[in-house]
Amino acid sequence: MSTPLAHPRLLMAPALVWLAVFLVVPCLLVLANAFFLRGVYGGIEYVLTLENFERAFDPLYAGIFLTSARVAGLATLIALLIGYPAAYAIAMAPARRQPVILFLAVLPFWSNYLIRTYAWIVLLNREGLVTQGLRWAGYTGEPPSLLYTEGAVIVGLVYNYLPFVILAVYSALSRLSPDYREASRDLGASGFTTFRRITLPLTMPGVAAGAVFVFVLSIGNFVTPALLGGGRFQMVGNLIYDQFLTANDWPFGAALSLVLITVMMALLIAQAFATERASGTRTREAAA
């Protein structure tokens, strides 16, 4: 192929320039800012320092990182426990209907994030629909405090990111040849053993992909804790937000972002690595 349309580099150039200017350079700027001092009246004083990172690991802020990790971890676990069987059910449905069911499962994910989160304010409010449901069922006590709790934040995250898990697990399941399961059954394994020894291990890359996405999107989240966690509940995203829009300490905000990005990159790379290894093993098995 000579140059039938145009040179590939020429075609890629406009987009790559845009990404360089509005993605790479700004990110490098944040990287650099993290190593400077905060100016007396906000702003940045160009003196090299590691102080921002020392502060980021101060127990106060490390505690917020741990809270974020715990909330994100629980949301991921619950999303997997709900999402895996749901994806399995879709993969078992008649082939003709699968795309429609899958589309409907993912559709809510594409509606506005703020609105999806707001819906849970309506449901979990003091006199919200959950409380009314309890009343209707005969509950007469004080309305339960559901909104503005860590639980509410976790529910919101699970609600928003569940479709990711369903998609990732479904795509792993749909690539899995039914021959494996049949062979296992023919050899006398029970349905559960087949699932535990064959299906689950072979769909682990899908589980890992879904889990990493939910965790990564949850740990850096800022809207859900702000709306469902109330003013005092803080996660890393809210802390970063505050440094830029209230505390006016941009270098510290930049350092916090770097720590967050490092955690996320590590997880994504580990996941990509695990998937590559898993698919490598399978290709070798197939070749043997």
């Binding site: 990404l19 944040v30 749901a86 994030y113 609105i115 449901l123 006199e127 569940l162 996320m264």
Partner: protein, 262 residues
């Protein structure tokens, strides 16, 4: 457990997941038609909250701004993203760095891109407004457009391009008569996804809009309503926003079967 009961249990889980996913949205839609406007009691069907929405100047301004930002960023991202997809798929060698750069905007946390762009525009002393939101939205939109178009190009027969060139067509004619018709459904699907993403995007817009209320977008308006006083109008607004996303996504899905799901 027998196969039949396993299947039944799985169906029950799936049904429960659909209830979980759709009930919160259904509640908002129902409330938007509730005359009293309160979530606690149904007081009759009414469209009055939609009427009052239509006369709320702050919301109308925000909706107009959102439309401008979404249209502009979608237009730029569709052109850049399609060219990028063509360029990448024409190359014979794969580059990990390039893949990572093109994938990055889809996974970088919104808050990080938001503060990075804020720092960048502030460092250059750029006056922020709708134009800076557009520049920011193009970053993730072009990544999504190129992903959708690339999926389509994987099954594109490049020998048709060579045939066209051999028959004497210029590069531009080949693009217009051969390549573009083949990938057009995916380009439109990608554009619709970009439009939806831009209409819904809040955090990056919030950081790159600059001070003042003139460049506030709809999600920013919704956020401030949620933080500082929820009025029943918000249910009507939510219903309309959901309707727009659902229509755009359904069309996109029809044009480009399966791509959204993968």
């Amino acid at each position: 457990m027998s196969d039949a009961s396993t299947r039944l249990a799985l169906r029950a889980v799936l049904a429960a997941v659909f209830v979980f996913l759709y009930v919160p949205i259904a509640v908002l839609v129902a409330l938007s038609f509730n005359e009293g406007g309160l979530p606690t009691a149904w007081s009759g069907f009414s469209v009055k909250w939609y009427v009052s929405l239509a006369s709320n100047s702050a919301i109308l301004l925000a909706a107009g701004n959102t439309l401008i930002v979404a249209l502009a960023s979608t237009a730029i991202a569709t052109v850049l993203g399609t060219l990028l997809a063509l360029g990448i798929e024409m190359r014979r060698s794969r580059s990990r760095g390039l893949e990572a750069l093109v994938f990055a905007p889809m996974i970088i946390p919104d808050i990080v891109l938001a503060i990075a762009l804020l720092s960048f525009f502030a460092a250059l002393d750029v006056t922020m407004g709708l134009h800076t939101i557009v520049a920011a939205h193009v970053v993730f939109n072009l990544a999504f457009v190129s992903a959708v178009v690339r999926a389509r190009l994987k099954s594109f027969d490049w020998s048709m391009v060579e045939a066209s060139a051999d028959l004497g067509a210029s590069g531009l004619t080949t693009f217009r008569r051969v390549t573009l018709p083949a990938i057009l459904p995916s380009v439109v699907a990608g554009a619709l996804i970009a439009f939806t993403l831009s209409v819904d995007e809040f955090i990056i817009a919030f950081f790159t809009a600059g001070a003042g209320r003139s460049s506030i977008t709809l999600p920013m308006q919704i956020y401030s309503m949620l933080r500082f006083g929820i009025t029943p109008e918000i249910n009507a607004l939510a219903t309309l926003v959901i309707a727009v996303s659902v229509v755009a996504l359904t069309i996109s899905q029809r044009l480009n079967r399966g791509t959204i799901g993968q």
